[in-house]
Amino acid sequence: MSDLLLADRIVKSFGTNRVLRGVTIGIGRGEVVGLFGPNGSGKTTLANIITGLARPDKGRILFEGKDVTDMSMDARFRAGIARTFQIPDPYPSLTVLESVRVALLCGEAARKETEGEGPGFQENLDSLLVRTGLFAQRFWPAAKLSQGCLRRLEFARAISCRPRFILLDEVFSALSAKDEAELVALMRSLHREEDISFLLISHNPLILEELCDRVVAIEDGRVFWEGKPGDLAKYVPSAHHAHGDEGENHEGG
């Protein structure tokens, strides 16, 4: 299978703590893959390595056939690998519009080299804000947004580089039902219309079942199971527990 993105035998230790012990995950073009694992299983470390925030001790990251292991996070963004953070960190002194503008400026510069002049910058910026439902709040300070809107801002930032791949780190956790539904719809439309591939990190099996084509479960730094989202609870004990705990939903903060 020709992978859009491949994390190949990734090993990473922090001191004597071996967080990842040879994890391999491939994501195909237009595919939505879920990454499941209990707290401390190495999900976020793997996310950081895939997006360039951390370096693996061993192994490599291939994107569209190219080795991007030594690329910095910002270079990967310009190359089409975007991500959202579990805990958004908005710029304290910028408005929503300005925050998205920063990402579009850097993504735009990358695009000009390959595609020539696109449509007007301002139009692009406005359509990004409309698409993510932030247009009405565009003059708000980004730091004053609600949790739901902050996640949309993460989406707006991520799609400003016209990515082929977005890594979503716990993007649906700790949200109201309405916010969650709107964000799910946004992700689906991006997947359908822009053919973006996703790696969706979550400890919530229900969300993974609803959205993913395939789920990879990791535990203790190894791939523990891989298969159809519907079978997750059957084969992965920690998913079963999570199913039972669903009502409490005290994660993500």
């Binding site: 925030l53 963004f77 953070f85 990402a103 009405a136 003059f139």
Partner: protein
């Protein structure tokens, strides 16, 4: 729809510039004229700190390094090597810019407090070095350096204080305009983002190390320009040009005026410098006054005077344009 390019604050600036233009006609004595002339150069220096420390958020506590590099280059090149002043001034600008590139390269991989520590150490190292360093005139007739300083040869008979006043004022207005242009440019926006959250900036495709280096280079060039002006006005470079007080002064003016606003630190310098110099308060008293001013501002204007006013204006704008509320 066109955005107004010059909002409220530059209106204040135009009024201020008008007052400063007419002030000498009101019969200022020569001493006050001198104090204000140096005040204009100090304001440019305070603004240059705000480029790197306010806009880009890289707290530099060794900013005097760039200022002193320029004054020393002017003095050494004209007195020791006999260069004409304009040539020495050009070289001084290049040298302070190069110092900015070097400090930027060293501090770009570092974060917050470590940038402050590194710049503090580099600034103090330069201060100590020039305090102890003696330079000999070509025939060994004089020895210069240390606290006594090195003369700057302007190569022209003495300039009238009025000429110096207006030249410094023109220089301040030019530099203020340049710095505001930078702050409102795309690069200025990227620097503001970087100072707010390095992580979000990196995830938005910002090459943060390149931009940190760039901010240091631009700030050092402007501080160097202020140093060249100072060397020309005072006619002497001393080890004090590298002093810690000068570095702290810039950071204090910026904190009081409003970090990242450019105009705030410049106005703070324009207000404080004449107040402190014109009244002949001893250095120990000056440091106490800095501390007092800092305490009062942080209590009532946490983002600095101009910064807090800007935040309030933004909050008003936000409720005004909400669209869906009320």
């Amino acid at each position: 729809m066109k955005k107004p390019r010059f909002g409220k604050i530059p209106g204040v600036l135009v009024a201020g510039a008008g007052i400063l233009l007419l002030l000498p006609l009101a019969g200022l004595d020569v001493f006050l004229l001198d104090v204000l002339t140096i005040g204009f150069l100090t304001a440019v220096y305070a603004g240059s700190w705000d480029i790197v420390g306010g806009l880009a958020g890289q707290i530099s506590l060794g900013h005097a390094l760039f200022f002193g590099t320029a004054t020393y280059a002017c003095a050494l090149l004209t007195s020791l090597l006999g260069w004409p002043f304009p040539l020495a001034a050009g070289a001084a600008l290049l040298l302070s810019t190069a110092a900015g590139a070097a400090v930027g390269a060293l501090s770009a991989p570092l974060k917050g407090p470590f940038v402050a520590l590194l710049t503090l150490a580099l600034g103090e190292a330069a201060h100590e070095f020039f305090l102890g360093q003696t330079f000999f005139s070509p025939k060994g007739a004089y020895s210069w350096g240390g606290e006594g300083g090195i003369p700057v040869q302007l190569g022209i008979p003495s300039v009238s204080p009025w000429t110096a006043y207006y030249a410094a004022l023109a220089f301040l207005l030019l530099c203020t305009w340049i710095m505001l242009r930078i702050a409102r440019s795309e690069t200025g926006l990227i620097w503001t983002a970087l100072s707010g959250s390095e992580l979000s900036a990196r995830a938005s495709g910002v090459d943060i190390q390149r931009h940190k280096r760039l901010a240091f280079v631009v700030a050092a060039a402007l501080a160097g320009a202020a140093g060249v002006g100072y060397a020309a006005c005072v006619g002497r470079a001393t080890a004090d040009d590298f002093s810690l007080e000068l570095s702290f002064q810039a950071a204090t003016f910026a904190a009081v005026g409003g970090r990242g606003t450019i105009v705030g630190p410049i106005l703070a310098a324009l207000l404080f410098h004449p107040l402190l110099q014109g009244t002949g308060i001893p250095p120990a008293g000056r440091v106490l006054l800095y501390a007092l001013a800092l305490l009062i501002t942080l209590r009532f204007f946490p983002a600095g005077v101009a910064g807090t006013l800007r935040e309030r204006a933004r909050a008003r704008r936000m409720t005004g344009r909400k669209g869906n509320g009320r």
